[in-house]
């Protein structure tokens, strides 16, 4: 795909205009998932397993159905059978079949005329369970004797002799590992563990669903990707995708957690059975118990380094549990583990393991933060041992254009070196520290994504333009799309309106995930609006009676250009649009593709912490994010992505964790105990936007959303070590763990 590229001389790109949806969102008018109402609407409530692992022997809903106003109860019996692969996994996760696989697993649902009544009815549904042995820890789940959660479900990749909970096995690498370690002056090897965390979006999942007996349905839902919702829900219910129209609401955060379905197929099934629209809204504890937190992980890393800091060899083994279903992100975790470095010999090994926990979902750079915690902590330990500067050592080994990546291919133009140089030059890196304070640094990577993308643009009669994209706006992407359209057409930003289209209005779009929205929908927006300017040039050429080759588009106008063009005053987009009905009809542009030129983004973070030696309490004093954005379309929202990723990473490093009791039940199901950072926990988060243009985007955009969550885990661990003299190799670094380490050191 030849792209008309431009990396300098922008008029709109790089400015910070108000976002188009700003007023709706500061006045309470914006409509989110739970803000929809329909005539005759019922309320749906789920019945969930109180056991980590239990056979469902019988479900008796008679008492619930006897209540006046209760309109339908569904169980797995109301869903089609015979699904395979991931379709089956999703159906099984949305509504348990024979066995409840984790605490909170849905086993039935009820719809009633009010929410209070539905909640009352749900309590009256009697489920007879036979409790089975359970396992929630990844290392325990691989041990002989651990209960097999789905025996026989392992795929082709798993070698014989492993526990049946191992679903997938991966192994790859290059170079001579033994020779690499032999050439090193220092070889270190350690084991690291990370606990599961949750995306923690503030808006619980919500949908309003209607499905008729004829299989035709509609749904309003908060999601990162409504085509995904359509495909998954249709598969789970056995209906045609075209018969289900899904409209995305405004979305109150997702971070990967809203790229799949949980309540949506169930709401549709209730609606089909009751013959009325059904609204379902999760409670916070349902969100924490039964949506898609991250994997937890257990990681072995070994590295060899010469005295001068040259890395000679590296090996990583990752064990990740992704709940009671396969597809823990071992693949991306391994690919990111050593991606920052040019190491002659690398080897990767990964185990995807089942445990009695909810099915993991994507969370901002899935897998990469865990891998970085292990490898970037070890790099820091080795730099300490060899008395090397941690940033300069990273720079010395940094991946750059032409480096053979740890995961195989050769890197195109990338920006790690530039972020490291900017971090070294940043005043933060040389600022003085007080007692009990320490500084940590780390780098991180995310490969980003293109994905299926379809965008339409339509010219209005006054010269304004409507752009319809299929990627929900979670963090200001309407503004970015409008800036790119304005830039490409040479019209004011305010003259572009960006809508998020429903599934009935565009071809298939992947979700706003993989840091792809600004890259892929942006690229498609630029190409779509260029079709408008091309058509407008034709209209002008017709009017002037000159060949279209002699007309150029510039500053929002068609202009004659070249020796044979003749002298005509420019025709503005407004003038041409006013006449379009009589000059050939409506004008629109459309572009669809699966663009593959997404460029990876590297980041380097610097953090200062202070550790209270008597309590193990860690406060974050100063934080700086340096990251390559390729080109920042709307810099304020790029900074926002950097800051948000850092904050989530800090939470993961210090206090966030899934805590399971001996009974296999989740113990911290409210925000009081699932401790995400609050405003008073954090300092201002400084940002440095590095711009190494991505050749795969017309304006050089790289995705920026995910990389920022990767460096904080090791950066904070490295800072804690510097401040308190103790190395924490398990997350979170909660005060009891830090204090215990300080006491153990003596």
């Amino acid at each position: 795909m030849p792209l008309d590229t431009k990396t300098t001389g922008f008029k709109y790109i790089g400015t910070r205009p108000d976002r188009p949806d700003g007023i709706d969102k500061v006045t309470g008018k914006a409509r989110y998932g739970a803000d929809a109402y329909a005539p005759g609407m019922l309320h749906g409530v789920m019945v969930r397993s109180p056991h980590a692992h239990a056979k469902i022997k019988n479900i008796d809903a008679s008492k619930a159905l006897a209540l006046k106003g209760v309109k339908a109860v569904v169980t797995r019996a109301d869903f089609p059978t015979g699904l395979e692969g991931e379709d089956w996994n999703i159906q099984e996760n949305c509504m348990a079949g024979e066995v409840a696989l984790y605490d909170g697993h849905a086993v039935a649902a009820v719809a009633a005329t009010s929410l209070l009544l539905a909640r009352e009815a749900a309590k009256l549904i009697e489920v007879d369970y036979e409790v089975l042995p359970h396992v929630t820890d990844v290392d325990e789940a691989m041990k002989p004797g651990a209960p097999a959660i789905r025996a026989g479900a392992a795929d082709y990749s798993v070698p014989e002799g492993l526990h049946p909970n191992v679903m997938r096995y991966i192994e790859y690498g290059h170079g001579d590992l033994e020779a690499g370690f032999a050439a090193a002056d220092l070889v270190m090897e350690n084991t690291y563990k990370t606990e599961a965390t949750h995306q923690g979006y503030i808006e619980p999942h919500a949908c309003l669903a209607q499905l008729g007996a004829d299989g035709k349905g509609e749904m309003w839902v908060c999601t990162q990707g409504h085509w995904f919702v359509r495909r998954m829900s249709a598969a789970a219910l056995g209906i045609d995708v075209a018969n289900l129209r899904v409209t995305p609401s405004e979305i109150g955060g997702g971070f990967g957690g809203k790229t799949t379905v949980f309540i949506e197929p169930v709401a549709l099934a209730l609606s089909r059975k009751a013959g009325k629209p059904v609204k379902m809204v999760m409670t916070r504890s349902e969100v924490l118990r039964a949506t898609g937190p991250t994997s937890s992980s257990s990681i072995d890393v070994k590295m060899g380094m010469k005295k001068d800091g040259t890395m000679t060899a590296a090996k990583v083994t990752m064990r990740m549990q992704g709940g009671a279903f396969p597809m823990a992100p071992i693949d991306s975790a391994l690919d990111c583990a050593f991606s920052c470095y040019n190491i002659p010999a690398v080897h990767h090994e990964g185990y995807d393991v089942l445990a009695n926990r909810p099915k993991q979902a994507a969370y901002r750079a899935p897998g990469s933060p865990m891998a970085a915690f292990a490898t970037e902590s070890l790099v820091d330990e080795m730099c300490r041992a060899l008395k090397l500067d941690p940033l300069k050592t990273r720079l010395q080994n940094a991946s750059r254009e032409g480096t053979k990546a740890s995961f195989g291919p050769t890197f195109p133009r990338i920006g790690l070196v530039e972020t490291l140089e900017a971090a070294i030059a940043h005043p933060h890196y040389a600022a003085p520290l007080g007692p009990n304070q320490g500084r940590g640094v780390a780098s991180g990577y995310w490969m980003n994504w293109g994905g299926e993308t379809s965008v339409s643009a339509a010219l209005g009669e006054d010269g304004s333009v409507t752009v319809s994209v299929g990627t929900p706006d979670i963090g200001g992407s309407r503004a970015s799309m409008a800036l790119m359209a304005a830039e490409a057409l040479g019209i004011p930003y305010e003259n572009v309106r960006v809508n998020i289209a429903d599934t009935g209005s565009l071809g298939v779009n992947e979700p706003t995930h993989g840091s792809r929205a600004t890259y892929a929908s942006g690229l498609a927006t630029i190409e779509a609006v260029k079709q408008i300017s091309t058509k407008l040039c034709q209209r002008a050429a017709d009017k002037w009676g000159i060949p279209v080759e002699a007309v150029i588009w510039e500053d929002g106008s068609a202009k004659p250009s070249g020796p044979n063009a003749g002298e005509f005053p420019p025709l503005t987009i407004g003038e041409l649009a006013a006449e379009m009905g009589g000059t050939g009809g409506p004008i629109s542009g459309h572009f669809e593709a699966t663009p593959s030129g997404h460029g990876g983004s590297f980041g380097t973070h610097i953090v200062d912490v202070e550790v209270d030696p008597e309590t193990g309490y860690t406060s974050v004093l100063r934080y700086t994010v340096v990251q390559d954005a390729g080109k920042a379309i709307h810099p304020a929202y790029v900074e926002g992505q950097f800051q948000g990723g850092a904050a989530q990473g800090i939470g993961w490093a210090l206090n966030e964790e899934y805590i399971y009791g001996a009974d296999g039940r989740l113990q911290n199901t409210v925000f009081l105990d699932y401790r995400i950072p609050v405003a008073s926990d954090l300092p201002m988060i400084d940002t440095v936007i590095v711009e190494v243009p991505n050749p795969g985007h017309p304006y050089g955009v790289r995705g920026v959303g995910e990389t920022g969550i990767t460096p904080p885990l090791p950066a904070v661990a490295n800072a804690v070590h510097a401040a308190a003299g103790v190395r924490l190799r398990s997350l979170p670094m909660s005060p009891p763990r830090i204090l215990a380490a300080i006491k153990a050191k003596g």
């Binding site: 910070r16 108000d18 976002r19 949806d21 700003g22 007023i23 969102k25 500061v26 006045t27 309470g28 008018k29 914006a30 409509r31 989110y32 739970a34 803000d35 109402y37 929410l115 209070l116 995306q199 923690g200 979006y201 503030i202 808006e203 619980p204 405004e250 979305i251 109150g252 955060g253 997702g254 971070f255 809204v281 409670t283 916070r284 979670i474 963090g475 200001g476 709307h634 304020a636 929202y637 900074e639 926002g640 800051q643 948000g644 850092a646 904050a647 989530q648 409210v670 925000f671 009081l672 995400i676 950072p677 609050v678 405003a679 008073s680 954090l682 201002m684 988060i685």
Partner: protein, 159 residues
């Protein structure tokens, strides 16, 4: 269920509704009065997305019963702007890109307005502690704090 008749004032308008005593003020605002600006993020008073003021006092509307609103004066995010004219906090939030997904924004605006009403010149630390009960997962709070401090300056200077 016996519903109780409640008369209350919301954003200067007198309104009436019937409430089951188990329903929260948040439920009543959203489901009975159609005012969906206040959001439910947790239902347990931990996230602040449902913040409103009752008789001038900042509260989580999920921790107030609808029937307790009888005779009270309630202000919500829908009442912050003066008609089409945005409040300085609202303008500064847009200008500073202090919202990403925007779900926490209504609660934070209500809370920040309550802060500036009693402390027109807060320090960064005071803003952070006052807003500690308003969770935001997108922004890392940086731009929110800047927007509040900037709005405070504008309101003090009476621009």
């Amino acid at each position: 269920m016996t519903q109780i008749h409640v008369t209350t004032t919301v954003n200067c308008d007198e309104v009436e509704f019937l409430a089951d005593p188990r329903e929260t003020l948040l439920d009543c605002l959203r489901d009975k009065l159609g005012m969906t600006g206040a959001k439910e993020g947790c239902g347990t008073g931990d996230c602040g997305a449902c913040s409103v003021t009752v008789d001038g006092r900042l509260v989580c509307s999920c921790l107030v019963l609808g029937v307790e609103a009888q005779g009270k004066t309630i202000e919500t995010v829908e009442g912050i702007a003066d008609g089409e004219k945005l409040h300085p906090l609202q303008r500064k939030f847009i200008q500073h890109a202090a919202l990403q997904c925007g779900i926490c924004t209504p609660g934070i605006l209500v809370a920040a307005k309550a802060l500036l009403a009693q402390n027109p010149d807060p320090t960064e630390e005071e803003v952070r502690y006052w807003l500690a009960g308003n969770l935001c997962r997108c922004t890392g709070y940086d731009k929110i704090i800047r927007a509040v401090l900037d709005a405070a300056v504008e309101m003090r200077e009476g621009v």
